[in-house]
Symmetry: C2
Subunit: 242 residues, 2 copies
Amino acid sequence: MTIKTDHRHLYLQVIDRLKDDIAKGVFKEKEKLPSEFELAKSLGISRATLREALRLLEEENVIVRRHGVGTFVNSKPVFTSGIEHLTSISSMIRKAGMEPGTIYLSSMEALSSEDDIKRFHCEIDESVITIERVRTANGEPVVYCVDKVPAKYLPSDFLSRQEGSIFTAIEESGEIRVTYAVTFIDPTGYHEVASPILECEPETALLVLKQLHYNDKDQVVLYSKNYFRADKFSFHVVRKRV
Amino acid sequence: MTIKTDHRHLYLQVIDRLKDDIAKGVFKEKEKLPSEFELAKSLGISRATLREALRLLEEENVIVRRHGVGTFVNSKPVFTSGIEHLTSISSMIRKAGMEPGTIYLSSMEALSSEDDIKRFHCEIDESVITIERVRTANGEPVVYCVDKVPAKYLPSDFLSRQEGSIFTAIEESGEIRVTYAVTFIDPTGYHEVASPILECEPETALLVLKQLHYNDKDQVVLYSKNYFRADKFSFHVVRKRV
DNA sequence: TTTACATCAGATGTCTGATCTCTTCTGTTG
DNA sequence: CAACAGAAGAGATCAGACATCTGATGTAAA
């Protein structure tokens, strides 16, 4: 029994536990999973709860269940870093085996523009913070980021910090949690601002991801525009038949 | 009672039924859903089965459940046409209010190349069909498509048809069903083959989607490379926090 | 009047244990 | 050897109970 009691729902903890076990190799590819009855017993939970977890793992393509046969671990834990998962740029760079870095270009605070009001559904006299940064991989510039966030969502001392993740700063108070984002994908050839900053030739294509980050109340809390060097980054998506 | 008995699992039928009801407006936005007990009773199923369906609907963001409060219909059925759903180019064009068309450039049948063998896990002497087409919207070229598919997956008379969806042709026999695809997103500036075909200037950016289509046995049955005019198409993704 | 606390009803979360149905294996029979 | 019947094991579904959370309401104290 751990000190820190996990207050999240049980089936979510079970999902994490099973994913961990699969990742650690406790359960190997194909076959392997014990029957629901045994698995529930060994996890110390009821079969009903285990089944809720299994159903979601099946939906995520982590496992496959066959009536009357058993539950199987799906090999290929590949696509998990696809664009449909919201991950930070830092972790993407780190996963590629390189060291992420950040160069702050500018921060400014201004009253909300017409676009801001539309985006954030905020008041006309609200303060909105705009931050420009360049993300680097092993010291080389790879992404140019422009982030906009209403000042009320950030700690008051944020502008003076000049470092740290905006994401983390927003969630710092504990009142806001970014749960999902809608990303618009937009290829660009030469971009007069981004291309020089990223030190790339005019013929190097850029991929622009415009993202609206939402909290659990479906309010936009962060708008970011990221210019990726297409020759350095690769994105993929798993598309499901509907 | 309908004649055709539905042999799919019960919880899947329940999901469809609930989605239908929401679409039809039987259950309106927010609030509305009866308690699990009542809903199960009115659907003639057990609460456990209903809960399996509800859990998946929650995962799909169709509903929201709050412990001790109730189950609510999530408004905004918006983003459903995002890139994470596998839809045909025709339907994308039609949804934009334009008339889709197809121009066949070439079809050829050849023995598998080294790449083909790697992609399809096929034999070295197998026949692979390559089809080049241009998709049009209101007569204007917007997408250049190169599709590759092992001949064994297609009806023998396919090459002589010169029309119809490759997708449909593959599934025609009833033995194969494409269940999902993995799409790699790749922006390009000028492309020496695609750009002239799409009649676009060198500075018009292209978005290349390379897709591996899988059947339910996780075999690659179709590889397609689609060049979209970036000024005509827009893609978006809903990214979930993990 | 306002605030704080206790209580309660109703909803989802979890558990137990049983039955139903599907798939696979195995042994019998012709 | 093939066809069929049965058994065993697994997931699918069911029925009902209890646990826990949330929101509303009533009541007493400030």
